[in-house]
């Protein structure tokens, strides 16, 4: 357990150290920087998978939740890192997506501006820290780390379009950070603690006259996360910012909406779960109906977008809305399906953002201009990518490979068999329309039927939009403009899509893990016990008679 415990800190320390080292290297040493960065990303993936294994295999013993006491103070007093199934899952997802985007960026994007690799590593540090921390204020700090890095990355490559989208993105997120602080301090003012486990313990005992303040604090805090997750009507910034960002940056940004989802999932079940007394289930119906509105908005946006980049941006909203609504259902089996769907849709949209960049080279310039004017947005500031000489191995049969990848993305986004998008959606829908016989259910609420209809319709919208985009790109007459696509660029896309395929083949295994995760999330007693009972390691001079 000792080594596993220290391993837990590595997802935060390793990218921090790498980011610092990369800062010292001169910008001209591209190769060295790239090698260090990619090796770190690989190491992070190995560590994340090792952590996932250690959490998954710790069966009967008490340690389904690993706790790391930073500063060696026991839980409510010091800041803790907590690793459970959900955190481990998010770590793996982050590292996989990071590896793919980083590899993709090596073809040309990492040279498009200064300090790409440093910012990327710091973004990873912020993401991993947000997934691991067990303290609300520490979460704020990691949130700011990842946001600060993301501001830099959103502007990577420069250009008026990116600056404009980046300006909006930064302003929205700074305002959201203020809300985050207000929420955290209100919660602290009412309960007197910031440790998540300790909070969960104290919330049932909050006196009735303070309950309103606590709920106000939680709601303000939730709004900050909902801005990140992109719930309608807090999501208008998202498609513009994501479609303007450079392809590898947009791909890693996909996980950033999932940070908001992760926190909402964790806090709503931990703080306002079954044991929370009078505040149990607080905000669930807001999440459910907000999620449904987000799915509707996203689906309409998907059909309405002419540019493929915006299509992907709205797909993120559909995915977020589905997850928010699933969290709002507060049912363990729905949560399990939602987790599967989350992993699948994150990988898909990440791959899709990378693919868009390649696919847009296929479109001849005239068609591109047409689609930009049709878009009505930014028609007077079309981006000019400077032509750069590319080195590397070009792949044969470019159009065929791109077409297959595009079709796979379409299937995944629409949730059609045989890929994992279908499995995730199917798990979600099954859990929704077959209420838990143990809980004495049997009647399905009207809102659930609407949600089911929305989920299926959003899949249809994605299918229509993808087919239209595919026809415009691949079947439109092209006069001798088959683009050069490097092996290094198509490999990350293929890697992510292969993972989706693997998730289908190994569906039973993955689903078992997701169900175990959902079970432990819905019964947070183990989490509380593990976090609050972890003892500090005695120092060499400490009395040993305790």
């Amino acid at each position: 357990m000792e080594t596993a415990n220290h391993l837990m800190m590595m997802p935060i320390v390793l990218p921090l150290a790498t980011g610092a080292v990369l800062l010292l290297l001169d910008e001209r040493r591209h190769v060295v920087k790239a090698v260090i960065s990619i090796v770190t990303a690989l190491a992070l993936m190995v560590i994340a998978i090792a952590l996932l294994h250690s959490v998954d295999n710790a069966t009967a013993s008490s340690a389904t939740t690993d706790v790391y006491l930073l500063g060696n103070w026991p839980a409510p007093f010091g800041i803790v890192l907590v690793l459970d199934r959900l955190s481990a899952l998010m770590l793996v997802l982050t590292s996989v997506l990071a590896l793919a985007s980083l590899a993709f960026s090596l073809a040309r994007w990492h040279k498009a501006g200064p300090h790409f690799h440093t910012l990327f590593q710091l973004l990873l540090m912020g993401l991993n820290g947000a997934f691991l921390t067990g303290d609300l204020f520490n979460l704020f700090v990691f949130f700011e780390v990842l946001l600060a890095a993301s501001y830099g990355l959103a502007l990577h490559g420069s250009g008026p379009l990116r600056i404009k989208a980046g300006l909006h993105y930064i302003a929205v997120n700074l305002a959201a950070s203020s809300l985050f602080l207000i929420g955290v301090s209100l919660i602290y003012g009412v309960t007197g603690t910031l440790n998540m486990a300790d909070l969960a313990q104290r919330i049932p005992a909050v006196p009735a006259q303070d309950r309103m303040l606590l709920e106000a604090g939680a709601a303000v805090l939730a709004i900050a996360f909902l801005v990140k997750a992109g719930m309608w009507p807090l999501s208008f910034w998202l498609p513009a910012a994501y479609s303007a960002a450079a392809a590898p940056v947009a791909a890693i940004f996909v996980i950033m909406t999932k940070v908001g989802i992760y926190i909402l999932l964790r806090l709503s079940l931990l703080l306002f779960g079954v044991d929370a007394g009078a505040t149990a289930g607080f905000g669930d119906s807001w999440l459910l109906f907000g999620g449904m509105a987000t799915i509707a908005f996203g689906a309409i946006g998907v059909v309405a977008s002419q540019a493929v980049g915006r299509l992907a941006g709205f797909s993120i909203l559909v995915s977020s809305g589905t997850l928010l609504a699933a969290i709002g259902m507060a049912d363990a089996r729905v949560t399990a399906g939602a987790l599967f769907y989350m992993v699948s849709s994150t990988l898909t949209i990440g791959a899709f953002f990378l693919l868009i960049e390649l696919v847009e080279r296929v479109q001849d310039p005239a068609a591109h201009v047409l689609s930009v004017t049709m878009e009505a947005y930014g028609d007077d500031m079309e981006e000019q990518v400077p032509e750069q000489e590319e080195v590397g191995v070009a792949i044969p049969g470019t159009l065929a490979v791109l077409g297959i990848c595009f079709a796979a993305c379409g299937l995944l986004l629409a949730g059609l068999p045989p890929l994992s998008g279908f499995v995730g959606k199917f798990a979600l829908l099954t859990a929704m329309v077959r209420p838990d016989p143990v809980a004495g259910g049997g009647v399905i609420a009207g809102s659930t039927w609407i949600l089911v209809a929305l989920l299926i319709l959003s899949g249809l919208c994605a299918l229509i939009a993808m087919m239209r985009a595919g026809i415009q790109i691949f079947w439109a007459p092209i006069e001798g403009t088959v683009p050069r696509v490097l092996l290094l660029e198509i490999a990350p896309v293929a890697f992510l899509l292969t993972l989706c395929l693997l998730m289908t083949v190994q569906g039973g295994q993955v689903m078992r893990y997701m169900e175990a995760t959902a079970q432990s999330l819905h019964s947070p007693a183990d989490y509380l016990r593990d976090v609050l009972s972890t003892q500090p390691i005695p120092g060499p001079n400490a009395p040993r008679d305790k």
């Binding site: 704020f140 600060a148 502007l155 008026p160 600056i163 300006l167 302003a171």
Partner: protein, 113 residues
């Protein structure tokens, strides 16, 4: 004291929100700074307002916790100030770049017709 602090926070945040909704980038950044000040005061006030109570315990002596202020919000507010300062500086850079590239200080990068 409570009234003064509450009015102060209200005025800061209210002006901040109004400025945030204005179309010029400079107004937006000042608005964000003002909101930041309001929020920092709010965090500070969550440790309860009391006078003559230091937040740091004296070593050696037996202490009565009731004589001391809650140190946590003060530590939090320090962190929030530092982070707020850094992000505002970053925003300022983006604002200047936007001004330089588009020749306009409108948040959309072009003047409304």
């Amino acid at each position: 004291m409570e009234l003064i602090l509450a009015i102060g926070m209200g005025v800061l945040t209210g002006s901040g929100v109004w400025l945030l909704l204005r179309p010029r980038t400079f107004q937006v950044i000042i608005g964000l700074s003002l909101i930041g000040y309001g929020v920092n005061l709010f965090i500070f006030s969550m440790g309860r307002l009391r006078v003559n109570t230091p937040p740091v315990l004296q070593s050696g002596a037996v202490v009565n916790p009731a004589d001391y202020a809650d140190p946590i919000p003060q530590a939090l507010v320090l962190t929030a100030i530092v982070i707020g300062f850094a992000t505002t500086a970053l925003f300022l850079v983006v604002l200047l770049v936007s001004r330089g590239l588009t020749g306009s200080d409108h948040v959309d990068g072009r003047e409304p017709n």
